[in-house]
Symmetry: C2
Subunit: 113 residues, 2 copies
């Protein structure tokens, strides 16, 4: 079996990291548009450090990227490479959270956490 498990390990790790409700929500939100940590903290029901730690895992897995702008750090999905077919497929089937972000936009974000 060992000859066959390398790819399986890679996939298993991908699914394990995405297989968490908080990270899956973050991931789905970032599919809509890039968001800063304070927006994610505002949207989800966990603390800011928890968000940062989840983002670190997603970054280690190389599925999100960050962009620094002043004191804010904006995260977004990293475009999957051509050979990352499973990741692509997962992203395609993610639930659409556009409406959840519309609510955020309407009330106007207050980044005071």
């Amino acid at each position: 079996m060992k000859e066959y498990t390398e790819q399986i390990d890679i996939y298993a790790q991908l699914l394990k990291i995405l297989g968490d409700r908080t990270r899956m929500t973050i991931f789905s939100l970032l599919k809509v548009r890039e968001l800063c940590v304070c927006e994610l903290t505002d949207l989800l029901e966990v603390s800011q450090p928890a968000i940062s730690q989840h983002l670190r895992k997603l970054k280690l897995l190389n599925v999100v990227k960050e962009r620094k702008n002043g004191q804010w750090v904006y995260y977004s999905l990293r475009e999957p490479k051509e050979n990352e077919r499973m990741l692509k497929a997962i992203i395609e089937h993610l639930p659409d959270l556009t409406d959840a972000l519309k609510e955020l936009d309407q009330k106007g974000i207050s980044c005071k956490i």
Copy 2:
């Protein structure tokens, strides 16, 4: 957010259960053909109770089904329903373990665990 999280929870649980190297291997093997517990135990490097426990989780998630034949229990993938798009996509992209099973067939299975 709560209005949007039901589907996310379902997906997160699916990915969490499949996001384990042992279960991902079992799942990939069952994609090739149905296998009894003793064959899976023979192929993988964990104990028979561990295999049974992983199979139970996969069955709880409703992604595998079982068929009893004498003292053997054969497991196979449950055909995903039309609306289970993400599961379908994952199955499609699973690594092909046909060769690993050929080796098993050649040496002739000895179900003495």
